[in-house]
Amino acid sequence: MIETYILIPGRTSKQGVGISEGKFGETYQSEITCLQVASEDMISRGLTDGDWVRLESEFGQIEVAVKTARQDELPSGLLFIPYGDLSSRLMGGETHGTGMPTSKGFDVTMQPIATPS
């Protein structure tokens, strides 16, 4: 089953701490590769924390582990990922005359996968 969601990449304090520790370090890498999913969506997609999914936008695809978002933080249908290398792979090059690619609030499909390829 593939369903469409809205993805919000954004800052987190752990990601900020990771930048200072080093972008190749464990804190930063584990933070930017973890997708937060609303608990209803985790249940409806049969996911548990640590499972892997493939996210695909119009421009690219990535594979990430999932974790249940903090209570109430995300409404169903919205996904959150700390901003970084992986989230940027889903953005297109078009900026619509602004210099800024659409980096938040774009559509993605989410498909559970057994293991990362």
Binding site: R11, E21, K23
Partner: protein, 465 residues
């Protein structure tokens, strides 16, 4: 004022630097007391979790100060190679600049002018759309000090300072007791408008979970209410996901405030609508001034991204995305902004200063950057420094390097470095590149004039045949 005092409580001598400045985020807190043991900072009093990570993890990277094609080289050789790359390029791009001092930013703009480059800052991928909106509708502004002392209605829209600017609440906007707000937090109303219930929303009195991608519609609904325009309740609910009565209640509170402040983040500028969203919010702040005092400020991310806008503006007349190839500045977001230039495969060389486009640009932009020779400056190893033709490892601004940065409210603040560093500052290298570029330009001009003197004389109408 920074002072250096030995720490009496310790067995061996520790240095304490008071009122040091944290440059990790745009809050630029300049009240941090640093305790230094040898070449490590062991305490950063008053710093938040991000500031602590910034100071306490600081070590001078043990990579060489200069790598050319991954091989250790002298800084002088790096400067020469960098200048050659920039001068010989047909479309050089200079990009980054938000995590360095304004002195370095000024020198980088100078180099762009000398080589006829396109220069852009990380502003274009954070609050660049805000810069465009400012040109469209202007800005009703105030310093953070004014907000601290007067702001009784604080609205955060598409911003999550609890995670991105942790001391924003405690130092400037929410909890401090101000001159006209003796009870601090109790005297202020805090509203968060966002698509998700962030940590900041948990600190608010009112949280409005606006429908994703409908900020523009929500802001125009509020503008209508500010101007007493009647709205269709069903339409508002359909467009914003929120009942009209909620927006009416918010507007009543906004009108009743003595001093309102709206801080906004990339929830507005990175989402569909971008500059149109920022324009709607800035215009709303302007509308509110018919009723009471209201101001609006973007929450700026990097420590000196505000400086980058200021320096670019005072050197070229424009805040970001400036092309100097014709010998005079031209500004056109979408055309002269780094992400577009790279994605369209236009630049044939680049100089990236304190930014990491190889980690956060779109894939087509990254692919092109990887295919051209570029120079990178960073205190740490990043995906961008790894793929650079010339990579300079530089001292860290604020910790090793003095200078000036601009806080998010455009207030310039001096840096008080705590540690020496064996790497040069980016300013020293940029000055070296600027000198070398001038030398090469002179050499090229002489060679060109010699070539021209060998050509047959042209009459004044340009026809020698």
């Amino acid at each position: 004022m920074a002072t250096v005092t030995p720490d009496a409580s310790s067995e061996h001598e520790l240095k304490v630097i008071t009122d040091a400045t944290c440059t990790f985020c745009g809050c630029v807190c300049d009240d941090i007391d640093l305790t230094v043991d040898g070449d490590h900072i062991i305490k950063a009093k008053r710093a938040c979790v991000l500031g602590k990570a910034w100071f306490l993890n600081h070590t001078a990277d043990d990579r060489p100060s200069c790598l050319i094609q991954g091989q250790a080289a002298s800084v002088e050789a790096g400067i020469e190679r960098a200048a050659e790359l920039l001068v010989s390029a047909r479309y050089p791009l200079i990009y980054g600049l938000s995590d360095t001092t304004s002195e370095s930013q000024r020198t980088a703009v100078g180099i762009a002018d000398w080589v006829g480059a396109n220069i852009d800052t990380t502003s274009s991928v954070c609050h660049g759309p805000t810069g465009m909106a400012l040109q469209g509708v202007g800005e009703v502004t105030a310093s953070l000090g004014e907000v601290r002392n007067r702001g009784d209605m604080i609205i955060f829209w598409g911003a999550n300072p609890a995670e991105s600017h942790p001391r924003h609440f405690t130092r400037y906007s929410l909890t401090p007791k101000g001159m006209f707000l003796p009870n601090g937090r109790k005297d202020r109303t805090c509203v968060v408008v966002d698509v998700r219930k962030t940590k900041s929303a948990n600190a608010a009195d009112i949280f409005i979970p606006v429908k994703p991608r409908s900020d523009f519609e929500a802001l125009w609904a509020l503008r209508a209410l500010a101007n007493d325009v009647e709205l269709d309740a069903n339409q508002v609910l359909h467009d914003t996901g929120i009942e009209l009565s909620v927006w009416q209640d918010l507007m009543t509170r906004m009108k009743a405030a003595k001093f309102g402040a709206i801080f906004f983040g990339m929830g507005l500028t990175m989402t569909r609508g971008k500059h149109a969203n920022a324009e709607a919010l800035l215009a709303l702040a302007r509308d509110m001034n018919k009723h009471t005092r209201f101001i609006c400020k973007p929450n700026r991310g990097h420590g000196n991204v505000t400086g980058a806008d200021n320096v670019m503006a005072w050197r070229t007349g424009y805040p970001f995305g400036v092309n100097l190839m014709r010998g005079y500045p031209r500004f056109n977001p979408g055309e002269y902004t780094a992400s577009d230039i790279l994605a369209r495969q236009e630049a044939d060389a680049a100089m990236i200063i304190a930014a990491d486009p190889m980690a956060n640009f779109s894939q087509p932009a990254r692919d092109h950057l990887k295919s051209i020779p570029y120079i990178a400056f960073d205190p740490k190893e990043t995906p961008t420094t790894r793929a650079a033709e010339v990579a300079f490892t530089v001292a860290t601004y604020g910790i090793n390097v003095p200078g000036t940065v601009y806080r998010m409210d455009d207030v310039p603040i001096s840096l008080r470095p705590a540690l020496e560093c064996h790497h040069p500052s980016d300013l020293e290298i940029l000055k070296g590149i600027e000198k070398q570029v001038q030398k090469l330009n002179m050499k090229n001009a002489i060679a060109q004039s010699k070539n021209e003197s060998l050509r047959p004389a042209r009459d004044e109408f340009g026809s020698s045949e």
